[in-house]
């Protein structure tokens, strides 16, 4: 097979490129920017590989397909931490914890003392929790850099250009992986705004992603190592403006403070805001029209679902196998 052009160098584009290259297909990756950075939605990802937790509100394919993610990332970037994830709630929100348990699988109930054993710095604040032992997490920027480096080493070409996928498709097989940028061609794609913070708080040690359930502001905290944490994330219908709102900051920070008051002394290293690309059912889609394939709609599941999405794109291109997330709407 001749070379395939991939437009968009975020997590979707990089995973598709890596998977095709693994199958012996040469790739050219085209992106507006020279390198991955704050312009990309994946730059601001939490990096939780938590298919079971996501099952609380996501459709079944997310749980099933997401289980491929940890092995995929570990094999290609090495940087996967397999410490599980922990879900807790304050006393007044234990009904939410029970509800979370009813809607998910793959966990065991943990008591206050077990929570203290798992995460000593949360000890004494929570009496009940859910431990999803088989889940994992990674540091998104590190994983993307590793992926990019491996692609370069294996002969992938990178081109900096604000490319029009339709024009590329006139010359050969092209895969549009642009995320929300593809909104102009995908009428049913929408943006869901997310706001997040990167905090430095060396006083607190946490080894695995923590989800704090709250009826209004569910929060997650993902350790990045060396006392750095990613704190996220709001979910607001509407594509992002450039700035985070004061309300989002208040909500995120007060939730972190509830996890451990030491977060009151944390330094705010970064404030991030971006739009997650999503279709109406919040599931990804692959659409094909001649030489052009569009793979999009990873929503809040970029790192979780991109490996499966990439596999399905490869199956389509190489074996002409129709992916389960392919829909009839023409690209």
């Amino acid at each position: 097979m001749t070379e395939v052009t991939i437009i968009g160098g975020g997590v979707a584009g990089l995973c598709v490129a890596r998977t095709l290259l693994d199958c012996g297909v040469g790739v050219v990756l085209v992106d507006r920017h020279k390198d991955i950075g704050p312009h990309a939605c994946s730059w601001w990802a939490g990096g939780m590989l938590a298919p079971f937790c996501e099952g609380e509100s996501a459709e079944e394919p997310v749980v099933r397909l997401g289980r491929e993610a940890a092995d995929w990332w570990e094999a290609r970037t090495g940087a996967v931490h397999r410490c599980g994830s922990l879900v807790v709630s304050s006393m007044r929100d234990t009904a939410d914890l029970a509800r979370f348990a009813r809607r998910t699988t793959g966990f065991r109930h943990v008591s206050g003392s077990e929570i203290s054993d798992l995460e000593p710095d949360l000890g004494g604040r929570f009496t009940k929790g859910l431990f999803f032992e088989s889940e994992a997490h990674l540091a998104p920027r590190h994983a993307l850099a590793r992926l990019r480096a491996s692609l370069l080493a294996d002969g992938a070409a990178f081109v900096q250009e604000d490319a029009d996928p339709d024009r590329y498709a006139q010359r050969g097989l092209t895969i549009d992986c642009r995320g929300y940028q593809a909104r102009d061609r995908l009428g049913d794609l929408r943006g869901v705004k997310g706001e997040m913070l990167v905090l430095s708080c060396p006083e607190v040690t946490v080894t695995r992603p923590i989800r704090l359930l709250h009826p209004r502001v569910p929060l997650y905290l993902v350790p990045r190592g060396d006392g750095v944490f990613m704190l996220g994330a709001t979910m607001i219908e509407g594509q992002a403006g450039r700035h985070v709102t004061a309300r989002a900051l208040l909500e995120l920070l007060s939730a972190a403070y509830a996890l451990n008051p030491a977060f009151g002394e944390a330094e705010v290293l970064e404030i991030g805001v971006d739009s997650r690309p999503a279709f109406p059912d919040n599931l990804p889609r692959i659409r094909r029209n001649g030489n052009l394939i569009r793979a999009n709609g990873l929503f809040r599941h970029g790192f979780l679902l991109a490996p499966a999405l990439a596999r399905m794109v490869a199956d389509l291109i190489i074996d002409n196998k129709t992916p389960e997330v392919m829909d009839e709407t023409a690209a």
């Binding site: 219908e237 992002a240 709102t245």
Partner: protein
């Protein structure tokens, strides 16, 4: 049929549009319940640059009446500003007016509510005020120009049902001709049925449907309960009594001994 500012609705269900697992499930909830009104909250940030328009387009596609709300506003000024943005964005005079006065219970600030209702009514809005069951406040809201009242059942999102049945009955009796909507606090279809049996004109829900394991099925369950309650109210239910009253006549029954 009850008219809400001249509009009759297909049934007594108004549904909120927040917190669903996905817009596809939200659309399904509307389809299965036949709800004729969708409430949409407008964040001021998204009103300014119309950032929410992808989502609003999906709401428009539901083909129902849109009732924008001023959720999360804590002052008259905030609520009035939000109402103006909502009128522009959604092209409707309807506004569900919320002025929150207390953070733990999300109880309305009834003083601010009356003031904001007056300002907005004078400005041509058709106001649906989120209020308590207080009769005096209700009267002030009507004087401020409201033609619909929306008393709470219980605090927003609590799922407790009708907390003050006495107060709500009194309100219904006191304002027989005003369209009354139970807004907030319902958790189960039986709560909605009870409200309709008491003669309320509609119920407004969000969390009870959106946070159910199967939101579309729960929306349908609420619609059925509302229909049952409406039918029961129209059928003039019997009043409760202290003593048993046999349903089978005893006179003329054959004696065994």
């Amino acid at each position: 049929m009850t008219e809400f500012y001249g509009t009759t609705l297909p049934n007594g269900l108004m549904l909120g549009t927040a917190q669903y697992p996905s817009p596809a499930i939200l659309a399904d909830a509307f389809k299965r319940s036949g709800a004729g009104v969708a409430t949409v909250s407008l964040r001021r940030e998204s009103g300014q640059d119309r950032a929410g328009q992808d989502f609003w387009q999906l709401i428009h596609q539901l083909g129902v009446h849109i009732l924008p709300n001023t959720a999360g506003c804590h002052s008259v000024k905030e609520a009035v500003t939000t109402a103006h943005m909502a009128r522009e964005v959604f092209d409707t005079r309807w506004i569900k007016l919320e002025v929150i006065g207390e953070e733990d219970t999300l109880q309305p600030d009834v003083f601010g509510l009356v003031e904001a209702a007056r300002i907005l009514s004078e400005d041509g809005f058709q106001v649906f005020p989120y209020t308590t069951e207080d009769l005096v406040v209700a009267d002030r809201l009507l004087h401020a120009g409201c033609e619909v009242l929306m008393p709470w059942g219980a605090p927003i999102g609590s799922g407790l049902g009708l907390n003050n049945v006495f107060g709500l009955r009194a309100m219904r009796a006191h304002f027989p001709d005003v369209p009354l909507v139970i807004d907030a606090g319902l958790g189960l279809p039986s709560h909605a049925a009870a409200a309709m049996e008491m003669g309320f004109d509609a119920v407004l829900l969000n969390t009870a449907v959106a946070k159910a394991g199967d939101p579309a099925a729960m929306a349908e369950a609420f619609a059925s309960a509302i229909r049952a309650g409406q039918l029961a109210h129209a059928a003039d239910p019997m009043g409760p009594r202290d003593m048993a009253a046999p349903s089978t006549p005893v006179i003329g029954k054959a004696f065994l001994e």
